[in-house]
């Protein structure tokens, strides 16, 4: 793989850009691999990358039913933060956030990480107390956050109306080192690095069955034939339940559609990410100038990747009070992704009832920000067969033991 650099751009400019090679190969599947990862989204590719980088396992295939990064990795609002209340969550999300800081250098691929700062607005007394508690917890966890007053909110984001009639802004939880990154670039960067290590990324290859022998996984049936493996990692977000059903077990999760939308592009007006959980709306401005807006989840199981229309109205209505300028914007595009939501709104990185099959899912509405940390923890689980410190608390057994990582209270809806 040729390195991307200033010199490479100059070299290619001098020869009409004829020398750029494909970022990743598209091989046919081999008969057998050490590890097969189902799902070539951010989490799956990150798992593959850290398997190779941290554990030297490179006889790996990543199979994907659609196209690379075309699931939730390509359907989110690209927010990166780690201001969680519970220790296990803060640990893995902070690991992810710190890996994002050096990702462009690590992958030799510009993922456009922009630590522009994330603020979560407190618009009720209860939220003030909640966020002050989170800020205190974060201080113990070593995550840099602070609770700021309304004047500072207005200073950081002048387009916010802080004295709205129903929900005035009373303060905010501010994480200065949170931000956004280019979602496609994260998937593409990992894919390029994985392909360079000799791993096979097989797109347009849907898994239709999990073959087992004596309680252990032996491979997967796919639309491109049987692919054998010693270890199987399911990293398929919304389809986790479907994968589990194919392998003969069930999961404590349900799949729902989560929506997002963008406005027409406008001049730069907002250089932070703002989340308003009480009214349920969050917004940032992309590099193209579009206002990127996160919407709500449907209240019923859904695999359609669309989402219900009335949520768009509810989201925009909620934003107009806090951001009056939104009322004059035209909305450009809307899309939906299928997220797998667990009973305690925290992810599952775990062994399964099937031997040598591992699952990474249940990230719900907070998957993108966790990609590198999730891949790091999952790679350790797959390589060693036992979870490391980051993944230990996220096992499936926590639901039997009542040992929940209850973030539905801590993070509200905008997880």
């Amino acid at each position: 793989m040729k390195r991307y650099s200033l010199f490479a751009i100059a070299r290619e400019a001098a020869r009409y850009h004829q020398g750029w090679e494909k970022a990743w190969a598209s091989p046919e599947p081999k008969k057998k691999y050490d590890v097969v990862i189902v799902g070539a989204g951010g989490h799956g590719l990150a798992t593959a990358f850290y398997l190779g980088k941290n554990f030297g396992i490179t006889n790996v295939a990543i199979v994907e039913k659609g196209w690379l990064g075309g699931g939730n990795t390509g359907r989110n609002t690209t927010i990166i933060r780690s201001n969680y209340l519970q220790d296990p969550s803060a640990a893995i999300y902070e690991k992810a956030r710190s890996l994002y800081e050096t990702m462009s250098q690590d992958l030799n691929y510009n993922v456009m990480f922009s630590p522009r700062g994330v603020m979560m607005l407190a618009q009720t007394e209860a939220e003030i107390r909640g966020y002050k508690r989170t800020a205190q917890a974060n201080a113990y966890q070593g995550v840099a956050t602070e609770f700021i007053g309304p004047e500072r909110v207005k200073e950081l984001c002048p387009i916010i109306r802080i004295d709205g009639p129903r929900y005035p802004v009373l303060g905010a939880l501010w994480q200065e080192r949170g931000g956004t990154a280019r979602h496609d670039a994260v998937a593409w960067g990992y894919a390029r690095a994985c392909s360079d290590m000799g791993m096979d990324i097989i797109q347009q290859c849907e898994v239709t069955g999990v073959t087992r022998e004596g309680g252990k996984v032996t491979g997967v049936e796919t639309t491109k034939g049987h692919i054998g493996c010693n270890k199987l990692a399911s990293v398929v977000a919304g389809n986790s339940g479907h994968m589990a059903n194919m392998a003969g077990f069930q999961l404590p999760m349900e799949s729902v559609a989560l929506q997002a939308l963008v406005s027409e592009p406008i001049k730069p007006c907002m250089d932070v990410v703002v989340m308003a959980n009480t009214v349920h709306g969050y917004m940032s401005q992309s590099d193209k100038g579009e206002m990127v807006i996160g919407g709500g989840t449907d209240a019923f199981n859904n695999y359609t990747q669309r989402g219900s229309f009335h949520h768009i109205e509810e989201t925009v209505r909620a934003l107009i009070e806090t951001f009056p300028m939104v009322s004059r914007l035209k909305m450009l595009r809307q899309w939906g992704g299928i997220v797998d939501v667990t009973g305690d709104r925290s992810p599952i990185i775990s062994k399964t009832p099937v031997g040598n099959m591992f699952i990474n899912g249940g990230w719900g509405t907070g998957g993108f920000k966790s990609i590198p940390g999730s891949g790091w923890a999952m790679a350790e689980l797959v390589a060693k067969g036992e979870p490391g410190p980051l993944a230990a608390e996220f096992g499936l057994d926590r639901f039997t033991q009542g040992r929940f990582i209850d973030e539905s209270v801590a993070a509200g809806v905008a997880h």
Partner: protein, 107 residues
């Protein structure tokens, strides 16, 4: 947009008129059950890609609970039926089979 017909009052409405209540026909476990049974009752869900049985409440209507059989991939509603039953009635299963011949009732 999902549209449902309430079997209690017969009114057909869009989803904003209803409130989803999750998976239907859960077997309840309480005191004396094993940890695994209790976990299954509280958290483990069928979450099928296809035919799903679920509970709904006609929140902005007659206020009554009912059951629905719906496809999670197309949002097609096969039938809605009474909440006073432990399992889908035969006519509901027949209505599903008419449209999804390959579908089998999960064990």
């Amino acid at each position: 947009m999902l549209t449902l017909e309430c079997p209690c009052c017969g009114v057909r409405g869009e989803e904003t008129e209803f409130h989803g209540g999750g998976e239907a026909h859960l077997k309840r476990f309480g005191p004396g059950s094993s940890d695994a049974e209790f976990e299954t009752y509280l958290f483990t869900r069928e979450n099928p890609k296809g035919v799903n049985f679920e509970r709904w409440r006609h929140a902005n209507g007659c206020g009554k609970w009912f059951h629905a059989a719906r496809c999670t991939m197309t949002l097609e509603v096969f039938a809605t039926y009474s909440a006073q039953t432990y399992e889908p009635p035969a006519d509901v299963i027949a209505a599903i089979k008419a449209k999804r011949p390959e579908w089998e009732m999960p064990a």
